[in-house]
């Protein structure tokens, strides 16, 4: 083993650019991923500079914290289950059944992924709040209370079921329908075929999707902040309140550590246990055969379920649009542009701030992701698995923890960054790079390495190989990485809320402030602007990546 790493170092030393690249990436991961986390841990064991376990003692003693932990875990579990059920049905119907409007329903189902974090919370307030359209005006309920467990759960299910859908879509699409045909052929009933073939094959994917939704739910900040209410404490908003409300950094850090543990556990299970148990029946060509294991009645039942979810998406966004264009929701529905005028006059600096930050962090994050994926799959160097782990670690770390870590780490010497543009950009780059890395790795593993060897063989250096061959080949992953980085930079709140300042503020924080002061119309107007910007950006990024790789669309691997 020792001689191996010496050999790979020797090879690395021959390629100074590669060596420098690896070094810079290691240092940045250590500095901007690991170091803040370490600071959170250290702070949780300190009170005013003294080492102590008092913080953790308080967590056990105080009912507030115990309840917050329990609430976060139970919401996570329930949202995980509901999200997976919706995601599974939608994925099954949209990949395996021959039903109309599949594309439209697909886009409707994933639309919540690109919206700012408060859209569903605000929609739920519009529909079910004290002046809610459904609860108050249609049903005439006076004392209906949406705040608490069910409010958070419904809002999160709406927000995160699309993630489960996307993950399960890949799983179900990779199960060859011929396996079902074989079971039917051997005399199994449809029901038996589903339970004994299709479902077991998709089970690792189901578990994986559950854990992903669980992690997202635990980390979610926006929905609980708006919908949990004072009587239903949850970990992420509680940590925020400890820091901004009572300026108690060490207690916030302790809550962050408690928040981090279940997420990291779920991440470890998902990554190191489940991902090795995915059954993939690759046949080379995608099968177009539709599933025969559901009866027509069942098919339309499942379909109507998916259509219902699509309609709810339309309803939620429709409500936001109406809310943004009317005077006062629930009282005065006259048309107005006042809310947009407010956004463009009073709050326009936030819009430009957000755009600048997103425009800087998107290409950096996208390229970094592709470079790291390339290094991990195609190059040998010591500490490779550490780089892979470090670079995707932040996926499992809730934003609240990252935010607290960044203020702890970069508020004083040796590196002072608080209040700057850089700290927001760094937080976004390193927090959202894992998705690009993961999809880059997935695509690169399927590409014959001799294509890149051929480039080297013809005289291309590592950088030339990457730019001229690797990047065009993994363009779909590059696209994913860029889009994800941009969408998240536009819609992030949980880490960013600790890092914004008077100089650099974000639209999502503005939305939160407007919700907090009851100006839901302005919040809705901001949300619509965010969605419009995100959709436009996805189009632009698609054009850019398409131009970069003109020919690759001619080839299917």
């Amino acid at each position: 083993m020792k001689s191996d790493s010496r050999m790979s170092l020797r090879i690395l030393a021959r390629d100074p650019i590669l060596l420098a690249l690896v070094f810079v990436i290691f240092v940045s991961i250590a500095l901007f991923v690991v170091y803040p986390l370490v600071m959170v841990f250290l702070a949780s064991f300190q009170v005013r500079g003294d080492w102590t376990l008092d913080n953790y003692g308080l967590m056990v003693e105080r009912r507030l914290y115990r309840t917050a932990l329990w609430n976060s875990l139970s919401v996570g579990a329930v949202v995980g289950i509901l999200g997976v059920v919706i995601g599974y049905v939608a994925a099954f119907v949209l990949t395996r059944l021959d039903v109309p409007f599949r594309r439209t329903l697909h886009y409707l189902t994933i639309l919540p992924i690109i919206s700012p974090p408060f859209v569903s919370a605000v929609s739920i307030l519009f529909l079910f709040g004290f002046n809610g359209l459904i609860t108050r005006q249609m049903l005439g309920l006076q004392d209906f209370n949406i705040y608490g467990f069910h409010g958070v759960v419904w809002s999160q299910v709406f927000t995160f079921a699309p993630i489960a859908y996307l993950s399960l879509r890949g799983v179900l699409a990779s199960i060859s329908p011929t396996l079902e045909d074989a079971a039917l052929n051997m005399g199994a009933s449809r029901w038996q075929t589903f339970w004994k073939v299709t479902f077991p094959l998709s089970l690792p994917g189901v578990a994986s999707a559950f854990l992903i939704v669980f992690i997202e739910s635990m980390a979610d900040f926006g929905n609980p902040l708006v919908l949990a209410g004072a009587a239903f404490p949850m970990l992420a908003p509680q940590a925020y309140l400890e820091i901004t409300g009572s300026f108690n950094l060490s207690r916030g850090a302790t809550l962050a550590v408690i928040l981090l543990l279940p997420s990291l556990t779920a991440f470890a299970i998902q990554r190191y246990y489940l991902s090795k148990r995915q059954y993939i029946t690759v046949t080379g060509k995608p099968s177009t055969s539709t599933s025969k294991i559901v009866s027509p009645a069942m098919k339309w039942l499942l379909y109507s379920f998916v259509v219902l979810f699509g309609l709810i998406v339309v309803l939620f966004y429709g409500v936001i649009v109406v809310g943004a264009l009317t005077q006062v929701w629930g009282f005065n529905y006259t048309f107005t542009l006042d809310h947009f005028a407010y956004v463009f006059q009073v709050g326009f600096k936030t819009v430009t701030d957000t755009l600048i930050i997103a425009i800087i962090s998107t290409p950096v994050s996208g390229l970094l992701g592709m470079i790291i994926a390339f290094l991990i799959v195609r190059r040998q160097f010591p500490g490779k698995s550490a780089m892979e782990f470090g670079s995707i670690l932040s996926y499992a770390v809730p934003g609240t923890v990252v935010g607290i870590g960044y203020i702890l780490a970069f508020n004083g010497p040796p590196i002072i960054l608080t209040g700057t543009l850089i700290i927001l950009v760094l937080a976004f780059v390193f927090r959202y790079v894992p998705v690009g890395i993961q999809s880059g790795i997935a695509i690169l593993r399927q590409i014959d390495p001799s294509i890149e060897e051929a480039a080297q063989n013809l005289g291309a250096s590592t950088l030339q190989t990457f730019r001229k061959v690797t990047l065009p080949l993994i363009a779909p992953a590059f696209f994913t990485g860029l889009v994800y980085a941009f969408v998240r930079a536009m819609t992030a709140i949980s880490a960013a809320i600790f890092l914004v300042s008077a100089n650099w503020n974000l639209m999502t924080v503005q939305i939160l402030n407007q919700v907090g002061s009851g100006r839901l119309g302005v919040a809705a107007a901001y949300s619509i602007l965010v969605i419009v910007i995100v959709l436009a950006a996805i189009g632009l990024i698609g054009l850019f990546v398409g131009r970069m790789t003109r020919h690759s669309s001619m080839v299917r691997f």
């Binding site: 001799s450 480039a455 063989n457 020919h551 080839v555």
Partner: protein, 358 residues
Amino acid sequence: MSQPVKIKGLNKVFPAADQKGSEVHAVRDVNLFVEPGELVTLLGPSGCGKTTLLRMIAGFEEPSSGEIYFGDRLMNNVPANGRDATMVFQSYAIFPHLDVFDNVGFGLQLKSISRSETNQRIERVLELTGLTGMARRAPSQLSGGQQQRVALARAIVMEPQVLLFDEPLSNLDAKLRDQMRVEIRDLQQRVGITSLYVTHDQIEAMSISDRIVVMNGGIIEQIGTPSEVYARPASRFVADFVGRSNFLPAIVGDGGKLQIGAAHLDNPYPGDAARGERVTVLIRPEALHLTRDVAALRGRILRAMFLGATAEYLVDVEGIGEVIVDQANPGAEGLFQVGETMGVNLAPNAAHIVSDTV
């Protein structure tokens, strides 16, 4: 331009894949000298180390020990992109996002060569490989043989010191393989670049090479011209791998003449075996001939197969055992029947003593 390739004491040990596995000694103490302009084939079964050896020459694998020279220049520390030893890959490795012209021009465009010269060289090589008129095609629009030509064109347009071929024909169907074999040999002769060619197909190796290097278990078993390797294999492994073989027991008689069963060979064996020694000899199936006349050996036919140009018989020869006989032009005399007892003649110089080890 073209350089000799010298390999001295080359070893490659792959580390164990996991805790339980053991390390793999893929290439063991290989010494080889390839003359300028020569085409040398590395032949052997899969896992014999031939591809690893080629990849070390290309710079894709790091030798565990030993040296690789192009001319007088030690290449060990030269990275793959500086070796000037272009390769034709087994999978062709054509850049799927570039058209034929840009694929072939990829390496030239990286160098500081004027655009007009680059274009001229590309055009010339496209013509040489029969790809004229396909410059703007995407790789997905090419047939297997055309893709093969692009891979070849891309390698030779660089006018490298050394050309490397990694089983370039293994993805083609039989007819096309025969045709491309001739084209590659023809092209290599014309451009005169020192070439190393990896294959597991002995027919391909014999038809294309100046010399063949037969490898087994990471070791070179024999280096020789195709006819040397075929007629005088250095080991039983080589004999068996290159062509089909009958291994028969024999005794060295007076004056070095071999006695196989009841047959005494007329020509003395040129080797240095002692009188009375028991040896194993190789006799190729085509060196045996069945006849209805009286012959030194007699045997009964156990199996008969008509193959067109030849007929293949499995014959139980008295005092020797089962041998395979390839009879040329079976149409002339008709197929002999299973159960018939025939005379068996041995061609002059048919026998070659083989050792079981190198």
